[in-house]
């Protein structure tokens, strides 16, 4: 079967996508050589700035969250492939406004290797950078074994919270410590019901059959959790939210942030239903949902399924969250 995607050339997917993004949102971002998606607000920034890196094919993430009140630069790699360390190093140099740079990395093999090599280069160049890694996927490892936990969509609200703290004029260490606290306060679990195809190779990854869903699927369909027959929205949320609540852990009286992140073919109608079921589930445990994101945030091509991210929030997170932001895919 031919891949049913509107593309031109498997070798220029990322370049063409970034060209379109720059044409559509030139008021918010510039796209510079080396796949650097740079916020138009960077040049006037007198604060800690924020850089992240990641493969493409997950749009709107990561480039869609560059802009006022979120990322200063996202370094795009290629489809599902981390950018090279050289480009990340250049991005950090460019981002540095003299107050230091927060470098956020999602825990995936390629991203981490690139992140580590980038940090080496930054150290050699004497740049003031702090790296914070998000690794909140609960499906493969307990919290005590964080290195085995993948970074999923939970990084996205963190962008805004860290950026809001940076805007308040806090130091790099303060911003990085806050980001680390946020990273530690959250957990994510994914479920997939239909697989995606790689837009360059046309190969589809994973195979979920006609009846099953798989809880614990990663960003690219890598499995992990259990495969089981499709369940209702309410039942699926109960399984997933229960696992997250235990992991974080959340207790009666806590306040939570909830994100339902559609991974591609799952409709916004379903996502709103799932969000409602999650709010009701947490209410049943005496946990109040204080903020949310519902939509396609970090997708996996046309995969059907979603990620559920829950975080324990405090007054500080909520206050920072409720500050303005203007990016391609998120405004407040």
């Amino acid at each position: 079967m031919k891949m049913k995607k509107f593309l031109n050339d498997p070798n220029t997917l990322t370049a063409e996508m970034l060209e379109g993004l720059a044409l559509a949102h030139g008021d918010i971002v510039d796209v510079l050589p080396g796949n650097l998606v740079v916020s138009r607000t960077l040049k006037d920034a007198d604060r800690v700035t924020i850089v992240t890196l990641g493969g493409t094919g997950h749009e709107p993430a990561l480039s869609g969250f560059v802009g006022d009140g979120m990322l200063d630069i996202a370094v795009a790699g290629d489809v599902f492939a981390a950018p090279n360390p050289q480009n990340c190093f250049e991005a950090i140099k460019l981002a540095d406004r003299g107050r230091g740079v927060l470098f956020l990395v999602l825990n995936h093999a390629g991203d981490m290797l690139t992140g580590n090599m980038t940090m080496k280069m930054c150290k050699q160049a004497g740049l003031n950078v702090r790296k914070v890694v998000t690794q909140e996927d609960i499906s493969n490892a307990p919290r005590s074994n964080a290195d085995d936990r993948r970074g999923l969509a939970g990084a996205v609200p963190l962008y805004h919270i860290a950026a809001a703290a940076a805007k308040e004029g806090r130091s790099l260490d303060e911003v990085a410590d806050l980001a680390q606290r946020y990273a530690d306060s959250m957990a994510t679990i994914a479920v997939a019901v239909r697989c995606a195809t790689h837009p360059a190779s046309g190969a589809s990854f994973g195979d979920l059959g006609d009846e099953d869903m798989e809880i614990g699927m990663g960003q690219h369909g890598e499995g992990g959790g259990g495969r089981q027959p499709m369940k209702t929205a309410r039942e699926t949320i109960a399984i997933m939210a229960n696992a997250l609540v235990k992991d974080i852990p959340l207790r009666k009286g806590d306040r939570a942030f909830v994100m339902v992140n559609g991974s591609g073919a799952t409709t916004l109608m379903e996502q709103f239903i799932l969000y409602k079921d999650c709010v009701r589930y947490l209410e049943g445990l005496g946990i109040e949902v204080a903020a949310n994101m519902v939509g396609e945030i970090l997708t996996v091509q046309e995969q059907a399924g979603f990620q559920l991210n829950i975080a324990r929030w405090n007054d500080e997170f909520l206050r920072l969250w409720n500050t303005p932001a203007r990016t391609i895919a998120f405004s407040k």
């Binding site: 498997p10 990322t14 796949n35 493969g55 795009a76 790699g77 290629d78 489809v79 599902f80 492939a81 981390a82 950018p83 090279n84 360390p85 050289q86 480009n87 995936h108 093999a109 390629g110 290797l113 690139t114 580590n116 090599m117 499906s139 493969n140 085995d148 993948r150 195809t197 790689h198 360059a200 190779s201 190969a203 589809s204 990854f205 614990g216 990663g218 690219h220 369909g221 890598e222 499995g223 992990g224």
Partner: protein, 210 residues
Amino acid sequence: MTVTLRQMKNMLLGGAASVIAARDELTDIDSRFGDADHGITMEKIMKALGKAVDDSGEECTIRGLLNTISMAVMTINGGSAVPLWTTLFDGLAEGAPDRADMSEEEFRAMFRSGYETLFEISKAKKGDKTMMDALEPAVDALGATTGCLADMMKATARAAEAGAGETVNFAARFGRAKNYGERSIGTPDAGAMSMKYFIQGLSEGLDRDQ
């Protein structure tokens, strides 16, 4: 026995050709417990290597050549394989002499250095189902074999092939496939297979010139 710059280049070009020929197979393996791109990435890396070799001229040293390759690979966007192969070539360069030829001992030391430098960032050991499962036995075999260069490289390639073959029996402990754990048993590791093809290609490239 000495290894000349010319031989070194032929080996590298042979490695590149061998990996590129296996592109679709590598992507297919990666589609089972990964993200279906390993062949794509390896092709990019090997093309960059080929271009670096072609552009290198006759004046360079072996270390210089390997350094150029490492730099070229580093500018590719390509997931895990890019930093891993960048580091491998970086380690090979560090272990190579700044001359246009090298002794048998220097040749062995170069591979050992490549392996060790890579291990520092990879952390994967034999049995973890990664490219190291092909590289480590190959470097060991190279260290243990004597004879003409062609025979040494054949023994090295056989060891790489055996090591890559064994990954079928392992559960992944690194990379994306890690998340499948035991379920990955029965399928070889994509990165071990590309390493096998590369090392086999080194041997083939040497032959081609003789």
